[in-house]
């Protein structure tokens, strides 16, 4: 069964359809790469899936249950986590403090228990520390645990974004250009880390401009242009298609 299903999803900004009638099936366990030139609707698509935008038409299903129309926090609670194109963190808090905030969904505690700091609340907090350290070690961020997140170098901040997303215990992870602004070495590390995440059974949708990263990771690729899907299939084959090349480089007509 497919994990995520998009049926005729359309999102308008004014009269412009940023995402136009998109059908998409995401299988459990795969890494789906989404690429396309700037302004082709990739980020809009992620915003629609994660609930930041409401689709004007169409519907989105997670494991057969409709999730379009839900708020972002509700979508996150259903098991879809996302990262952002910009580096995001809670100002001045350390990496560890940030991650604790991210644990919100994992210890659904009663506010009263938290207020009075009951035993159960404290014990749950301990299990969260273990979870946080597990994720930080998976992503090689453990050394930065007590550094204010804003002070991390750019590359680490991108990875920190993924770590924050993982704190919600997702079944599906949406990565919005995880390697922007990274050099080749850093990007290779991220590829390794995303692969490790995928090996834990988390399905990944990856938006990426860096073709090498996309070809290394994606088991399947979708190409968008002007909000519509122009190609879908095995990454290497998709890249060879004429209209994909045309979308990226333009046609030969003079």
């Amino acid at each position: 069964m497919s994990l995520l299903e998009l049926k005729g999803v359309t999102k308008f900004f004014g009269k412009l359809a940023a995402v136009d009638d998109i059908d998409l099936d995401v299988q459990k366990g795969e890494v789906l790469g989404i690429c396309g030139p700037n302004g082709s609707g990739k980020t809009t698509l992620i915003n629609v899936i994660s609930g930041y935008y409401k689709p004007n038409r169409g519907a989105i299903y997670l494991e057969g249950k409709k999730i379009s129309g839900l708020r972002p926090d509700q979508v996150a609670a259903r098991g879809i986590a996302r990262t952002f194109q910009a580096n995001m963190c809670f100002h001045r808090a350390t990496v560890l403090q940030n991650m604790f905030v991210g644990s919100f969904l994992q210890y659904k505690t009663n506010e009263w228990q938290a207020f009075f700091e009951t035993k159960t609340y404290k014990e749950r907090r301990k299990t969260i520390v273990a979870k946080v350290m597990d994720i930080l070690e998976l992503l090689n961020l453990a050394r930065d645990a007590n550094v204010p997140a804003v002070d991390l170098p750019h590359g680490h901040q991108r990875i920190f974004g993924i770590a924050m997303a993982l704190m919600t215990n997702p079944s599906l992870l949406l990565l919005d250009e995880p390697t922007t602004g990274m050099n080749h070495g850093e990007a290779t590390l991220v590829v390794e880390q995303i692969r490790k995440i995928n090996e834990r059974g988390i399905t990944v949708i990856l938006i990426e401009h860096n073709m090498k990263v996309l070809l290394d990771l994606a088991t399947r690729a979708v190409v968008l242009n002007f909000g519509t899907k122009i190609a879908e299939g095995k990454p290497r084959e998709v890249m060879k298609k004429q209209d994909v090349i045309a979308a990226y480089l333009g046609t030969e007509t003079v």
Partner: protein
Amino acid sequence: MKLGNYKKLLPKIVVGLVIALIFIIPVFTTSLVTLSKFIVIGFWAIAAMGFMLIMRTGQISLGQAAFMGLGGYTSAVLMIKLGWPFWPGFLLAGIVAGVVALAVGVVAVRAGPIAFSIITLALAEIMRILAVEWEPVTNGIKGLVVTPPFPIYLDYYFILILVTITALVFWQIDRGRLGSLFRVIAVNPTLAESEGIPLTKYKVIAFTIAAVFTGFAGSFYAHFLGVMSPYMFGLWQSIQALMMGIVGGISSLVAGPIIGSVILNTLNDLLSRLPIYSIKPTLFGAIVLLVLLFLPKGTGLIDLWRMFWNKVFREKSVTVASPN
């Protein structure tokens, strides 16, 4: 070594003495005028703390007077019209203020930060007009005259305990899970939502908690003054809660508002002796502007005090006004 110990102990002794002194003031003086000044400071400290709690979630309430009025009128009406004793009316005052905040908050909070300010402002005005026009219940502009239930020195301890409880509750909120969620919502709502934190829920929680305590304070204040009239909660009262919070410093939820209340109420007192009454709001506004101009980034008097404190006693640098 010995000197170091003294340095550590001295601040605690000073704070302890100040608190002890506050508690035994009625032993030295039972003068109505003197004790009233402290009671007014206590009332405004609670109102300002409420304002700051809402501000923690990134929203500016311009209608805190609505909850003072709701609290005051609830218990005054129950006492005068239905003959209730003070205590049940007092408890209900907080509950009524909380319920109204919950109902209005659910709508106001979703409208965005600027609309939130406008809606809370409108709420306070609606409440005031209601108090003027709904004569059979509120006695209109004549107001309700209640007999103060306690002698003045008990009033003093009443507000002292109310401020202490409010301060402890808010302090516990601020350092715990709720406090960090409030801050996170204000600092980066987009990221907070992606982590599964429902923004509306926590903004409404902050708004409601603030309203409950402001309602209690309003109820007490009406009974202390012995009168509840529409003049007691207008825009100026809402703005005063805001100013005390700002002047105290936005980094602090408890100490800041208390200091803000002490400073501005003392100033209010001094200015009242001036022959020209109308100059007061102008000077108040000027002070807030000065604070905003010369202590930007929300640094308030509490931060200046902390800097001084650390310089003298700890010689440790402090980060000023950091939200976390």
